[in-house]
Symmetry: C2
Subunit: 87 residues, 2 copies
């Protein structure tokens, strides 16, 4: 499945989260990742993320799209990480 992951975290924990998410997904913008991932790997990523986060104050949101083609991506301005369009 194709996912978009965004997080909003305390500055002290952002470095660790960035490092973690980079192992599973593609960094595309400040606190935003995207990529193809299996259900098992996503569960693994989220388990590690929970160890890093303070779930009372930090926020992580995952948007899942079962089909890669169901999502269309448009970039305006600087593409921070040159990734092909999804289609």
């Amino acid at each position: 499945m194709y996912v978009i992951l965004v997080y909003d975290m305390d500055k002290r924990r952002v470095g660790k989260m960035l490092k973690l998410c980079r192992q599973y997904l593609n960094w595309i913008q400040n606190s935003v990742f995207e990529g193809e991932i299996t259900e098992v790997k996503l569960k693994e990523l989220l388990a590690y993320a929970k160890l890093i986060m303070d779930e009372k104050t930090d926020s992580l949101i995952i948007f899942k799209s079962r089909q890669e083609g169901w999502l269309e991506k448009e970039v305006i301005g600087k593409e921070k990480n040159e990734l092909d369009n999804l289609i």
Copy 2:
């Protein structure tokens, strides 16, 4: 169509972009919006966004899903803006 909008902008312009995006979509997290929007309204939003942005340094990404049900949302930690799950 259902969209997710994320931006990564110079601090001096973030306030204006936040104000603009709030008129069209739901704020869910730092620099992240989601919501149902028509093609016409999305064009309008992007035209105004381009007036605010410095396209050489700022970045705005839109993920479009033609069907609302094609996107599944999972929130971990603090839901910054209480919005129903998409399904």
